[in-house]
Amino acid sequence: MPSDQYNENYSYLTGGLAVRLSELAKGAAAVVEDVENTQLGDGIAKRLRDLGFVKGEPVRIVAFGPLGAEPVLVQVGYTRFALRRSEAARIRVVVEA
């Protein structure tokens, strides 16, 4: 869940809360803030950016897999991508307040 701290850091600038894409509920819409590297030269993060997960891009959670809500189906632009939770956790998004 978004904490107050996040709120202080981001809400005045963006009018929303910055959370990880993996924390969103089904049907939730948000805007990409950035993609974090989990290590140096993170190929998966680079690929996510190539696929269109870049700042300002609207995203929406379409569906979850049947077990453990994994994978996460995300709509970005006109495309739907299935991401594992660890992949979705790299993407920080701002939920419109």
């Binding site: 190929g43 190539d50 269109g52 870049v54 897999g65 994978p71 495309t79 739907r80 991508f81 992949e87």
Partner: protein, 610 residues
Amino acid sequence: MTAMRVALVGNPNCGKTALFNQLTGSRQKVANYAGVTVERKEGRITAPSGRVFTVLDLPGAYSFDAASPDEMITRDVCQGNHPGEPALDQIVCVADATNLRLHLRFVLEVRRLGRPMVLALNMMDAARKRGIAIDIEQLSQRLGIPVVETIAVQRGGAEALVRQLDGAIPHVAAVEADPAADLHAQVRQLLADTVVMPQRTAAIDEAIDRWALHPVWGLAMLAVVMFLIFQAVFSWAAPVQDGITWLFEMLGQNLGAVMPDGLLKGLLVDGIIAGLGGVIVFLPQILILFLFILVLEESGYLPRAAFLLDRTMFSVGLTGRSFIPLLSSYACAIPGIMATRSIQDPRDRLTTILVAPLTTCSARLPVYTLLIGAFIPRQSIAGVFNLQGMVLFALYVLGIVSVLAVAWVMKHLRRDKSEHALLMELPSYRVPNARDVAIGLVERAMIFLRRVGGIILTLTVLLWFLLNFPGAPVDATMPAIDYSFAGRIGHALQTIFAPIGFNWQICIALVPGLAAREVAVSSLATVYAISAGGDVATQQLGTIIGGQWSLATALSLLAWYVFAPQCLSTLAVIRRETNSWRNVAIAAGYLFALAYLASFLTYQITSWLT
């Protein structure tokens, strides 16, 4: 004049292969790129002016920052760095007109190469239907390259592209190749200036996915689809398979009747014709299986199935994408291993290939049927279940459990523990195009017949030689097979196989059974000196072994067939698909070890209990 070399590149799911089929028809050559098992497709087109073009269908790529062997090939060929491919005269970049937000980024990446290129906006029919309006002239001007519209699935849908190729090679100005330049920002700007899109997705995708990806209904639907495939593979194929068996038997008999007795006749009738028949009999199953896979692939359902099963498969060290190859392996591991090409991560692909031989392929059924029929009493349990059926079911379950267990062990043995990516696109649903499915089917049938047929034919001839040479002496007291190389190998093997309860007859039958598992049944029949093939012989054989073998031996042989790499063709396909003898050795080694262990335990425990 030499043909101009053109390559099609584009994102996965841009309809590139359909466009390639539209351009080249069935005049295609399918092979591999040198040194890797990435499919290389080439075709030719003759333009109205009479000029000839060689067209290469490059693997789909999201980016030149390659994440898979497929994408590396595309990058190297486009950049002119691939050692085995001559430079391209022109690049055709294909983009799905309904998904320009994603596809234009790659177009810009290709554009940076500064090579002669043309952009084909594909699926223009779908784009118009969704009310997407594209200012082609403006887009062409902004990109600095010619832009044409195509509809790959419609007759004549590629005419504009052919006309463009037939004209002068476009001069393409170099662009600043600042690697830090934000391609996404450029795409957004281009879209804002040249494209009007009324809605984000097709309503039909939303509607179907609500059911197809539902945690309950989605899984139920998948189960129904799987059941249909199984039903089709095993029941639709049966009459055709019987016909093929009959045809080859007739051919053998007729040829045998007109040819003089001798070695040549033996080689031709028992070796080549019987061997080819044994291979081709699997073709109907394989074609039906591939028909389903192609239709599911074309329709866009396959990635949905992978989506539903990814979590389960991932927890044992596989991926959702392993599902279809493993499902195919239930008919035959060979097409299953061939289908692993759709798995991008090389580690996931290798694991899938190595566990595929554990699935209960249809060639095991004759062996299972013979042994169960002879040794398991035909009694019902609790009035509902048939004991024989339950044993067969248990053998299938054992196959599934061992796939999961072995994959899990491999996951923990692997040295490279870096994260495996899923990052899988779920494309829009499409009605499969009959011509594209037909071309794909013919391609796969040819690969199966040419490669696998060749291997099996060679092995069959070799085994025929081992079984017939040297011939029995005049004063022979034992069956002729005892004096042959195969017989001697069988007797030699008995020392190794005695602890798991195999007698020398079984050991001999295991040798020809290496060509194909079900051959072991007819070999056992031969060893027990029963003439004639078919069901009658199988029944007689059942009576004989039922009287001569102990229950422990029979169960041990069943356990052996669950695991043993009793199929050299599978090993040959592993070699071809992984390009490595080491992987063949790993597969054969672990399968033999498991088979021996399972049979040893089964034999010793059953002997102790009975």
